[in-house]
Symmetry: C2
Subunit: 366 residues, 2 copies
């Protein structure tokens, strides 16, 4: 690194055993907000309650001047303005998005980065045109392997200056539910969700959902940019390459019952029959079961599942609990149709990615 | 406290000298988000980027069933539905709101509560009906002193179960710019900003802007509820009553120039002439000057002020900086027409309220 990179970027590190959250991590937490857990009540998350993770700054883009290029291994490169994109076939998909780093701050030891607890998730109705149609129009060549997506957001990360870019395997990019979205919940994308146009790859963690999209490049070799090769890897040590983070592992969240304490967020619930509700999702297959524990994972009971509203949208669940006075640690866990089940205790990885340990909610019954 | 209160609420405390941010504070930071500082570019903050502080949970209110009561020391108590409220005279005010705890996490030692750094602010266009008209209709009696506002949000705080309530001196409540707002930036209030109706008291810190408003009660004695008498007090020790927190002290914020590092948020700027821009506000009087330091407060130069868009909305400012390579700590400070000036170093108070030390932004010029 030159002096500039050393001044701005620290190497990746793991917090010490008793090290509190640092001001750097807190600054990220103040910028990048989660879903307040009571907002699990909404089938579709209202704008402003959906989680957000912005790597650099939210860019200022004039929609009138915005253009998207489709280039690389194609026979007819394209350059489209927003009106041209919006004139193409339009579809709407309800999709749950979760940050790949969700749960990171619960790991021990804690990887120092965006310090999510449980809340980096949201579900929206995304409207736009299928990417596959655009790629067909451009004519993908026979040797194509990956598609690289470039955003308009720029900054440094671990000493590397970059514009946000992610690669996606061609087979995923050609799925008919992968969208170039310009509307969220029926309105133009808000600035923080990628205005004017973002990528939506249902089922994948948030890093694939490139915001402020300006470039789509078809590649004849695997994309080797920072966000695929260095970041978003599942690994135990700094020097191994690790495995890529891709689809969301199953997770259930409980809408915390009763009323909270301001500071501790511990919940107070009146004795009697309490309805416990929440949502569960997986990027691998529909959720097939949700289980609830009222004794911190000692025993589990099945929850009743509501209908699956869309292949990659969270599924509602509910169960009843006859609460008697005392202090409880509620836990919930989901299993999907591909056989993935949430662990009660989290396996550790060095970047704190794809954590799906069972959420805990402390409740005092009176 | 009974067992229930002891289980849910910890006493107020001050962090130890080297104590990192706790998981409790982090949980609040993940829920209650700030304005990403690049959003200082917008005259009016888009919904979802405006700061939020929710004491308990965002309540679920059906607007069709919502009613507001006006009661207490009035000759004609009122009960109004949303349509009736919206049929009254409507005005729109552009107002900057800031959390009274903004800057708390920069205090040393740090009061343990919502750990804001610099970003708990936003400016919106609030539309609704003046409170004064409703109070005139209800007929405030001669002995009235305070008006108490009750929200629909409920929880515990420091061992005290409560519905969020704040009192406001009658003279403030009768100002013609105090609103019962049901729209933000031209749309119905989002759930997190108090839907369907909230109070707006221009110039005051956020605790006065009661969300999810359901009750207005005129009192013939001073309101003595928790949020006025226990919370939101300026004091040095636990056992003194302290002074109430009221209006916003002046503050300037700089829109961080250049591009950021993901983790440290240090900015990288290219050498040459750099335009520095930002916003400044005060709840006491219009901002009269903004000054910028590029040497961490050693020397200051005046910024050029843009027009004041409304009495209690932030005012834009700009200045040019000829940046030569090196590392800099930029600071900005404002002074208002009432003679309040931002300090470079923050005075300390036990609850971490009304902090307005000059923001610092670390910049590396290359």
């Amino acid at each position: 690194m030159s002096t500039v990179e050393e001044w701005v970027s620290a190497p990746a590190r793991i917090a010490g055993p008793d090290e509190g959250v640092s001001i750097d991590e807190l600054r990220l937490a103040a910028r990048n907000h989660g879903l307040p857990l009571e907002a699990l009540r909404y089938d579709v998350t209202p704008a402003g309650l959906h989680y957000l993770l912005t790597h650099y700054d939210i860019p200022a883009i004039d929609p009138a001047g915005w253009r998207l290029t489709v280039s690389g291994a194609v026979t007819r490169p394209l350059s489209l303005g927003l009106d041209e994109l919006r004139a193409r076939p339009r579809v709407t998909h309800r999709v749950t998005l979760e940050c790949a780093g969700n749960g990171r701050a619960r790991l021990s030891p804690r990887p120092v980065s965006q310090p999510w607890l449980d809340e980096a998730v949201g579900t929206a109705e995304w409207t736009g045109t299928p990417l596959a149609g655009l790629l067909a129009e451009a004519g993908v060549t026979a040797g194509a392997v990956d598609v690289a997506f470039t955003g308009a957001d720029r900054g440094f990360e671990r000493g590397v200056e970059q514009t946000y870019q992610r690669g996606l395997p061609l087979a995923e990019a050609l799925r008919d539910d992968v969208l170039l979205a310009d509307e969220m919940n029926g309105l133009p994308l808000p600035p923080q969700h990628g205005a004017p146009v973002r990528l939506i790859v249902p089922g994948w963690y948030g890093m694939a959902q490139v915001k402020w999209l300006v470039g789509v490049e078809v590649l004849e070799s695997e994309f080797d940019g920072f966000q695929n090769v260095t970041a978003y890897r599942l690994k135990q040590s700094a020097d191994e390459p690790g495995e890529p983070v891709t689809r969301m592992l199953p997770k259930a969240l409980l809408q915390p019952p009763g009323v909270p304490d301001f500071q501790s967020r511990v919940r107070v619930v009146d004795r009697g029959v309490v309805e416990l509700t929440g949502r569960a999702w997986s990027g691998w297959a529909p959720v097939e079961s949700v289980e609830v524990s009222t004794d911190d994972g000692g025993s589990w009971r099945p929850a009743e599942l509501g209908p699956q509203p869309a292949p990659y949208a969270w599924r509602p669940w509910r169960c009843e609990w006859t609460a008697i006075p005392g202090r409880y640690e509620l836990r919930v866990r989901a299993r999907d149709g591909a056989g993935h089940e949430q662990p009660v205790d989290q396996a550790w990885n060095r970047q704190g990615m794809a954590n799906n340990h069972a959420q805990g909610v402390t409740v005092v019954v009176r």
